[in-house]
């Protein structure tokens, strides 16, 4: 067994764990009793999906797809700052 088949077998084994954790985070988003609970669950699901995209870029053998990860990590935390500014009851942008 070559090194390529071994990496592909490893990624095929590891993918269901990511899918199960994404679905568990999504259950917390759908249930969440207050607004900050939903926001931190969205943070966690964003970082999880970012790692999942990086692993899938190896699986599809297309290295150009890795540039999506930088944008996703860079914009995932913006929702935190907006909701925090809203909850502190000040104007956004001052």
């Amino acid at each position: 067994m070559g090194i390529e088949e071994q990496v592909m077998l490893f990624i095929t084994t590891i993918v269901p764990i990511f899918i199960v954790s994404i679905i568990l985070y999504l259950i917390r988003i759908l249930k969440g009793p207050t607004v900050p609970d939903m926001v931190i669950a969205i943070d966690a699901i964003s970082y999880d999906i970012a790692v999942f995209l990086a692993v899938l870029a190896i699986y599809f053998k297309s290295p150009i797809l890795i540039s999506c990860v930088i944008v996703f990590v860079l914009w995932a935390y913006a929702l935190d700052v907006y909701v925090a500014k809203y909850l502190e009851s000040k104007e956004i942008g001052e």
Partner: protein
Amino acid sequence: MINEILIIIGEVLIAIGAICDLIAAIGMNRFPNFFVRLHALTVGAIGGAFVPLIGVTLLSLGAEFLGVYRFFMAGASIVSAILLLFLAPVGSHAIARAAHRSKAAIVYPKVIDRLEEDRERGVIT
């Protein structure tokens, strides 16, 4: 020889990250209130995203079947890992501070809250 060693180290780091993600997801569903769930978010951000991105860097440095662009892949993934290490605590701290100041999250199993007492007495703002 060096390529196989890099690939094995990368696979071990990705496996650690996946298991940390599963633990963080279970904790996010079972913990009782907002301020306890922040601990699960920390496990999911550092153990579940920073460590496997370093693993992707090492694996793509060693994988020769990806072509010449594997160096681009390694550079992009390590840059995103460092960005995540800086940006994830900023967001979680901002949302925790706002939730405690505006009383948007209910703290149900609570023993004592020194910060709120100090704020009511006017010691800190």
